[in-house]
């Protein structure tokens, strides 16, 4: 999903790209706790009767489930931010704060949509400058990616706002 905010006066843009996520973090925690209650009740019940070897398996399984939910939540809550400000285009990636960042000059930046070699495969959206290619929008579907390519070309080409004297 793409959310963009552009300032018509300064020609600056901020584009936020995030994957689709159909379960919020709060609901993920609630679902996980619900599963834990049932599994641990069963395992503790048997443990109290003396059959304690069920408990470690239940524990291991719940740890694996937690890891799976966490991994998925991290992936679906990650963000890609393309910041077009003044003469630079910055691409940042991260979860709650940028973990990776790349800056290129706006004047030299171009947007490429690499078509797939085979029909049915997704195209790849690349921001290029001086031989470097930064892929963005990997989590988008093709329709969104193609629309973003059109929009990015338009936003990057916009003339920079004149620098005001201090």
């Amino acid at each position: 999903m793409v959310a963009a905010e552009c300032d018509a006066q300064t020609a600056d843009c901020c584009v936020v790209i995030r994957p689709n996520c159909s379960l919020s973090w709060q609901r993920t925690v609630a679902v996980y706790c619900g599963i834990c209650v049932v599994s641990l009740t069963i395992a503790l019940g048997f443990a109290l009767l003396g059959f304690w070897l069920i408990l470690p398996f239940a524990g291991l399984e719940l740890i694996a489930l937690a890891a799976a939910f966490y991994h998925c939540a991290v992936r679906t809550n990650s963000r890609e931010v393309i910041s077009i400000q003044g003469g630079t285009v910055a691409v940042m990636r991260g979860l709650h704060q940028p973990k990776e960042s790349t800056q290129i000059q706006r004047a030299w930046a171009s947007v490429e949509l690499a078509e797939p070699r085979q029909r049915g495969y997704p195209a790849r959206l690349l921001i290029c400058s001086h031989g470097r290619k930064i892929e963005v929008g990997h989590c988008l579907n093709d329709t969104e990616r193609r629309q973003l390519a059109v929009d990015l070309r338009r936003w990057i080409r916009l003339p920079s706002a004149p620098v005001q004297a201090a």
Binding site: S39, L53, F69, C72, K133
Partner: protein, 524 residues
């Protein structure tokens, strides 16, 4: 801050050759692997059933010794349950859940690969026990101690293979839960999900709840045998009956793990060929959840004869009968969906109708078994064998075959041979009834299960049953031929395939591209 790596342009397509299948993380590839593995195991388990029916063709011992006969009954059950039916449902889940939800793939693709590739090793290990000193496991798939502790060298290998199967199931279940909850396309709310997805969500939840119980139970058997514990040894102060409680606390939900996805498949197929929306969608969801909930409360109906308090017998009897209510809701809804529909009877619909009719027969014999005083007569007889084969063969396996015919054109891009499909259905339906229906009478007359020899008065029905078994087994070769010939070619299937089909999977091309939903799916 680090600098983002620049990416080379490449298309992430399938690798070529064998490495595509070994290292694949694509849900369609893994679904295909699961389904083919399941078909292979269906024939391995089926071959063991042929040994059983050949031995039972006449009274007396003909072909195998009693020990090997019991090994065959044990292995047949383990292979059919864990190797054929469960992997078939996981294969269908892999193929269908992402494309039914509008998701690009399963949530955890690498784990998906591991959960499949554990299975060939697990079943190779299980089958290798046939060649070990003391033979394979012969104490029945329920592994009751102290009998199972008499297994020879095979014992730890059997336990380890069960652990591997359980690990595979748990990884599959975790993947299904996380995928369904996190990866639905925008607009795909829970109550818009196809019934197949709903039934799999509930099945995966059941798997997560009960698999540690099985793992713990078999590990305690192992420690009793090798590490001097006495969990189930009366001599050391343990309780062998408690193993039965623990096993069936896993085992009864396991029965629903084997049938709930079948309900989902049939709920997809009947509306398509009745050309009407499914009657009572919400009630179907709630009925499935009710069945899953009740499955935790009825385990002791498998062991009425161990000697439990009257109040316990009454509780488990009535709780078991209660399951007939949500199951009845489902059957009512399937029949109501067909009512005044523009029905056609292509092979998937025939198998779905066969499921509804014959699963109901299995359900009714289950109700008979639920009556505690009556169960004292039926317990451990061929009546029980007839009951669970009506539920699992004409229930679960018929639904899998219905699903295979229904989605095969979508998966392969080719239509199967409809005439051969109908032959497969009618021959299967005739012979499966010749095989299993007489077993009701054998059980009522008192023939015990798990014996290679029997009293002479049981001969006629055993002859009929064995003939039905051989014919049913041969008929399944036709299914393998139809599947292989459809994969190899045939009339091209359209994207929609079936006139009345609805759902996101039918909006994709046939066969679907390696990466699904490069354009946003439209949720109605």
């Amino acid at each position: 801050m680090s600098t983002a790596a620049a990416h080379d342009a490449h298309d992430h397509g399938p690798a070529s050759g064998l490495s595509r299948w070994i290292f694949t993380t694509n849900h369609k590839d893994i679904g295909t692997l699961y389904l083919l593995f399941s078909l292979l195991m269906f024939f391995v388990g089926g071959a063991m059933a042929m040994v059983i029916r050949a031995e039972l063709f006449q009274p007396g011992l003909q072909f195998v010794n009693p020990m090997f006969f019991n090994t065959m009954t044990t292995m047949h059950a383990l292979i059919m349950i864990f190797g054929a039916v469960m992997p078939a449902f996981v294969g269908l889940a892999n193929w269908l859940i992402p494309i039914m939800l509008g998701a690009p793939d399963m949530a955890l693709p690498r784990m998906n690969n591991w959960s499949f590739w554990i299975l060939p090793f697990a079943f190779t290990m299980l089958l290798s026990t046939l060649f070990m000193d003391g033979g394979g496991p012969a104490g029945g798939w329920t592994l009751y101690p102290p009998l199972v502790l008499q297994t020879g060298d095979a014992f730890p290998f059997v336990i380890f293979s069960i652990h591997m199967m359980g690990l595979s199931s748990i990884m599959g279940a975790i993947n299904v839960v996380v995928t369904i909850l996190n990866m639905r396309a925008p607009g795909m709310t829970l109550m818009k999900m196809p019934l197949f997805v709903w039934t799999w969500l509930i099945t995966a939840y059941l798997l997560i709840a009960v698999m540690p119980v099985l793992a713990g139970a078999v590990t305690m058997l192992l420690t009793d045998k090798f590490f001097g514990t006495s969990f189930f040894s009366a001599a050391g102060g343990g309780d062998p009956v408690m193993f039965q409680h623990i096993f069936w606390f896993f085992g009864h939900p396991e029965v629903y793990i084997l049938i709930l996805p079948a309900f989902g498949i049939v709920s997809q197929i009947i509306p398509t060929f009745a050309r009407k929306p499914l009657f009572g969608y919400s009630s179907m969801v709630y009925a499935t959840a009710s069945i899953a909930f009740l499955s935790f409360l009825v385990w002791a109906h498998h062991m009425f004869t161990v000697g439990m308090p009257l109040a316990g017998e009454l509780f488990f009897m009535y709780a078991t009968m209660l399951i007939a209510v949500p199951t009845g809701v489902k059957v009512f809804n399937w029949v109501s969906t067909m009512w005044k529909g523009s029905m056609t009877f292509e092979t998937p619909m025939l198998f779905a109708l066969g499921f509804v009719f014959m699963f109901t027969i299995g359900g009714f014999s289950g109700l008979m078994l639920a009556i505690a005083p009556v169960d004292f007569q039926y317990h451990d007889t061929y009546f029980v064998v007839a009951h669970f084969h009506y539920v699992l063969v004409t229930g679960a396996i018929y639904a899998i075959m219905a699903g295979a015919y229904y989605w095969l054109p979508k998966w392969t891009g080719n239509m199967y041979n409809e005439t051969l499909g109908k032959w497969h259905f009618w021959l299967s339906t005739i012979f499966v009834n010749v095989l299993f229906f007489p077993q009701h009478f054998l059980g009522l007359a008192g023939m015990p299960r798990r014996i290679p020899d029997y009293s002479i008065q049981f001969t006629e029905f055993n002859v009929i049953s064995s003939l039905g078994g051989f014919a049913f087994g041969l008929t399944q070769l036709l299914f393998a031929y139809i599947v292989i010939s459809t994969i190899r070619g045939g009339k091209k299937a359209t994207d929609q395939v079936w006139e009345g089909a609805e759902g996101l999977e039918w909006t994709l091309p046939s066969p679907p591209p390696y990466h699904s939903f490069t354009t946003a799916p439209v949720i109605k």
